[in-house]
């Protein structure tokens, strides 16, 4: 059941009607049942894993809290982590690691016949496993009290708006909302409706319209392109994945608001950032925050000297890349962003060491501000193109190294002409950038002037109806 399907819209209507009629406890029970129905719609067999993850972590958290011995506590946490990671590892990474292991052995002249399993990847496994793990870790750290009511915890893990593609809402944010009765206000519902509309617009107009062009650009036999099409394909994918994923996140946040919940922002203005550090504060924020809180900082963060910081950054980004999927391309993508972060960090340190005294603390009026703005814009443009090169690794996939290499060659050639695809890609891209530029305003729709509200709703609805693609295509991040 995908958000952009008719079945989901009917499901949502029924859920909302029931939800508004009943009291808090019954609401939670109904939402759990609805969420399991939503998830089981893909494949009922996936429900077993979801139930196992939920009850296993529920039990672990209670034991962790009750355990006075710190060593045994640690063992419990390790047990929980290993079990969760084993589940995700088995379903997501087994075939990749088995294949890689066989290839490594074969380079040394050895042979291993590891069985290749035909495993169906449960939708959203990475999302709800990370969600559940964050809860156990928080309880272990004492940041959070273990949930007593299993229904509250089931709702926290399985709540359908975030279940299959996030945001990875941390337990300390969402669990109290599950536990306590929700307080509704009109503004929240209005903002929720607006966010849903905006999310659908991003998905069916921006992402799904660009999708055939991206598929064409990455299909075998198309690249290399002699004109600027290589760049256009990368731009198109950059905007497609933004429209797709941030659209999903908007719909998720909008749906949550309609039921009185609040989710964190998952996207701000990722393509208007100047450097990788900023980018990761704007792109898939819930994952960045998870990686920071539960991986980077526990590894030592930036407190143990330059080399350790570089190591921690690289480990975090490589694992962040692999979180997306089992494949060398995702590993390369993580590595690419890790290197970018390291270079940026080093450059910043150097700049501070060399030029800091020369920079005046207060700037004179007029021209320097404009100059800074130009410099800012130039960095935004440059970093956007660097991000696009990263998307090349992400999109092409491990099996298409030839496509990656042919793209890398053509990207270095200055385009002399643009194909007929330039107009729609740049047009839809401009729309995506406009929405990013105004991202903070999008959240307080209820406080806009009435004229702006009318125009915005009518324009978004008209855009969806007249430019949208309604083939019920899946969201890209469902595969992760």
């Amino acid at each position: 059941m995908v958000f952009n399907s008719v079945v989901f819209l009917v499901f949502l209507a029924v859920v909302l009607v029931l939800y508004y009629q009943i009291k808090h406890r019954s609401q939670n029970l109904m939402l759990v049942l609805a969420s399991y129905l939503f998830y089981g719609w893909w494949d009922w067999r996936f429900l077993g894993l979801l139930l196992f993850t939920t009850f296993f972590d529920y039990w672990c958290a209670l034991r962790l809290e009750a355990e006075p011995n710190p060593t045994r506590k640690k063992w419990f946490l390790a047990f929980s982590m290993i079990t969760n990671l084993s589940a995700i590892g088995f379903f997501k990474y087994y075939n990749f690691f088995a294949g890689s292991f066989e290839r490594v052995l074969s380079t040394f002249g050895m042979k291993a016949d590891l069985p290749t399993l035909h495993i169906l990847l449960p939708v959203g496994i990475s999302f709800y496993t990370f969600l559940s793990m964050s809860y156990t870790i928080d309880v272990y750290r004492g940041h959070l009290k273990a949930a007593r009511n299993p229904l509250d915890f089931m709702l926290y893990v399985s709540f359908f708006p975030h279940l299959v593609a996030g945001p990875i809402v941390q337990a300390k944010d969402l669990l109290p909302q599950c536990r306590n009765p929700r307080v509704f206000n009109q503004d929240q519902i209005i903002n929720g409706i607006w966010l849903c509309l905006l999310g659908y617009f991003k998905k069916v107009v921006i992402a799904d319209r660009l999708s055939p062009f991206v598929d064409w650009g990455f299909s075998t036999g198309q690249a290399p392109f002699s004109d600027g099409t290589s760049w256009l394909v990368l731009y198109a994918f950059a905007f497609q994945i933004y429209g797709d994923f941030s659209g999903y996140s908007d719909i998720a946040r909008g749906l949550a608001k309609l039921m009185g919940f609040e989710f964190m922002h998952n996207f701000k203005a990722p393509y208007l950032t100047r450097n990788p550090a900023e980018f990761w504060q704007h792109w898939h924020i819930s994952l960045s925050r998870w990686l920071r809180d539960y991986l980077y900082i526990p590894l030592g963060g930036n407190r143990q000297g330059t080399l350790c910081t570089i190591r921690n950054l690289m480990i975090t980004m490589i694992l962040g890349g692999l979180w997306h999927g089992a494949g060398l391309a995702f590993l390369a993508w993580g590595l690419f962003h890790g290197i970018l972060l390291v270079v940026h960090r080093t450059w910043n340190s150097l700049q501070r060491a060399l030029f800091a005294p020369a920079i005046p603390t207060s700037l004179p009026d007029h021209s320097p501000t404009r100059l800074l703005r130009c410099k800012h814009a130039l960095w935004v443009v440059l970093f956007f193109h660097i991000t696009c090169v990263g998307w090349l690794l992400f999109r092409a996939g491990s099996s298409q190294w030839s496509i990656i290499s042919s793209y890398l060659v053509t990207l270095c050639i200055m385009p002399t002409q643009w194909s007929g695809f330039a107009w729609p890609v740049l047009w839809l891209g401009a729309l995506a950038l406009l929405l990013q530029w105004k991202h903070s305003a999008m959240d307080c729709f209820a406080h806009w002037a009435a004229d702006r509200q009318v125009l915005a709703v009518a324009a978004v609805l008209s855009g969806i109806a007249s430019l949208g693609v309604f083939e019920g295509s899946s969201f890209i991040y469902f595969q992760f």
Partner: protein, 418 residues
Amino acid sequence: MIHLKRLQMPAVVLVVVSWLTYAVAGSAISRLAAKRFNVFLARVSGGKVADPALFIQGRIRELLILMTVALVLGLIGTVLNRWLKRHDRWQRAHGLIMGLAGFALLNVFVAFAGTTVLFWSAFFNKIQVDNLAQYQIKRALMPEAQGRRRAILIGNSQTNRSIDEVLMNEMIGKRLWTTELTLPGTHSFDLLTETRNMPLGHGDIIICYLSEVFFFGNGKGGVVSEFFGFEEIPDLIKLGGWDLFTPSSIRSSLAGQILPLYRDRSSIAHKVLGWPLINLKQLEFDRSLEHDMERQAARRAPQLKAGVTYGFDQAVLTRMVDELSARGCDTLLIAGHVHPALQRHMDPALRQSMCGFLEQLQTCGNGRVTVVDGARFFQPVSSDFVDLVHFNDDAQKRFTRKLIEYLTVTYVPPRGSL
């Protein structure tokens, strides 16, 4: 909002004055303009505009209708806005509700505009053709062809590639005005719904080129969703087609009936996002086809078979010719041909079955249905085709000339009798 309020009264005055001017001097203005733009119109339309003065008058009327509709809808919006402002309960959601109302009113406007040439002209492109826009323009222009007998070409791209309407209008346009209302990928149920929506009159000749690909290509008729409405549901069930359509195509068609903006999305997307992006899948499909016709035919021929849709197609076409006859129209069905290579690889029983059915059709419709074998005009050879089903330009012209000869003898009365 304040500025809009100020505009209301001048807009009402403008519309009223415009209508009055049109009533008094509309026809004279149109004639004057026609004199001035006669050559330009003839060049742009390729001779398809029957009467330039009538054409210009029609566009002026359309403009006035659209202005009036916009004004009325604007006033409805204003009234709704005032009503909402008076009710505190709706204060917070005022913008959201008015936005929804704006969307609804825009759809109402598009519903009206969708019947006009002016609206569809915005989507017209002679090189990167938008089929729906072209279809709608020609359909809207039909009532303006007066005083002559009319031939309407219907069907899929095979009709389009077999018969040249421009040549027909050049050669016998003064006696028989031809317009082509074909849409690529059209199937039987689309033909039925299309003809129901056409402004046909007594004596119109409906010409359709049909071949084995039409009947045995296993199409279910979900392509032309623009003309399938709620009123067609009983027919779809009665004729046994309900199970043959995908639920999504039915949903999409019905949604299009409620939201004209959604119904016209292909043309709007064409215009806004450009031809290459929208037609990418089709271009890729075309490129993926083998250049060797023999190999392409060998692969394609086994896919052509009398499937579950054949019975439905027969029932629908029978209904269509009955309805056309009841409206006083003559129907000319041409049993067309495909590429000789495809003909060779195809089961010969298919052609027999098709011709047998078409002959049966001839007995329907009170003698107003004629079936002609395409071979009567000429027997096509491999070099006459650009692909497995479509004629090249030269073959199209030759076929059209033969068709004109036939029409002149069979349907069109001698000069001066009308």
